[in-house]
Symmetry: C2
């Protein structure tokens, strides 16, 4: 069941990433109304192409629950997951995905990936959570980046 | 440029995984004709949904080269990458992907994912490398698994 406080937590993590000059994305994994793990994007800091918020949160949750299947867990993300992260969400058998801003790069959507990966497990995908706030975070970040480059 | 010895190395890593009762998949990352990193699937051992051979090899290569962009690097995998791993290959900007056996689960193909992710970076995808040997590895593994369960 969707709870607004968890997307708020994802947003606050995204803001933390932004302060560290990372693309502002935050992710929270929840089970039975409680946070299992949370993370923000650390690609620049760790110089690791896989260190997106969702991957880091999934790794932590697997460790905590001692299982690669995160059954009964939901994930909240401030931005629609990329192909890698959506694949990880499906591999981890997360039940529901709630995300904020939609990807506007023309990439395949999270919802389409659920269908096209043709797995037995299907994650339910719900977008548009606090969309304006989440979207502003990312667009402002890239606007600032472009400014500082020019 | 494709070199058979690297897919052979990926196959030997897959065999190592099999001995440890992991789905047999091996991956090797190569730059300028030299191995940068290699890994085999460790999902069971690490109880981590993201611990596929490709992800582990990419993480190691990023660390070694101190960069999240693996420009000029190729990846050899014994099995066609899943959605998560193909997303990671694209995020890491790997130049060429050479894989052995094709995914037969009806999932979206690695090649289709390159197009549908609509990124500036496009990894070249070449399948069917030592396909029979690679395919046999996976089918035999699951045959044994089913036998031991019945």
């Amino acid at each position: 069941m969707y709870e607004e406080k968890f997307i708020d937590k994802a947003i606050s993590l995204a803001k933390k990433a932004e302060k560290l000059d990372e693309v502002p994305v935050g992710a929270v994994i929840v089970k039975d109304g409680k946070i299992v793990s949370s993370a923000y994007n650390k690609r620049e800091e760790s110089r690791d192409a896989t260190a997106h918020a969702e991957i880091l949160a999934i790794k932590k949750a697997c460790k905590k629950l001692n299982d690669f299947r995160l059954l009964g867990c939901d994930i909240y993300v401030s931005l629609e997951p990329c192909v890698m992260c959506m694949g990880a969400i499906l591999n981890a058998r997360l039940e529901n995905l709630y995300f904020g801003a939609s990807i506007t790069s023309g990439s395949i959507s999270a919802k389409e990936l659920v269908e096209l990966s043709n797995l037995n497990h299907k994650t339910n995908v719900f977008g548009g959570k606090k969309e304006e706030e989440c979207s502003k975070l990312v667009t402002e970040y890239f606007k600032q980046k472009r400014k500082s480059k020019s």
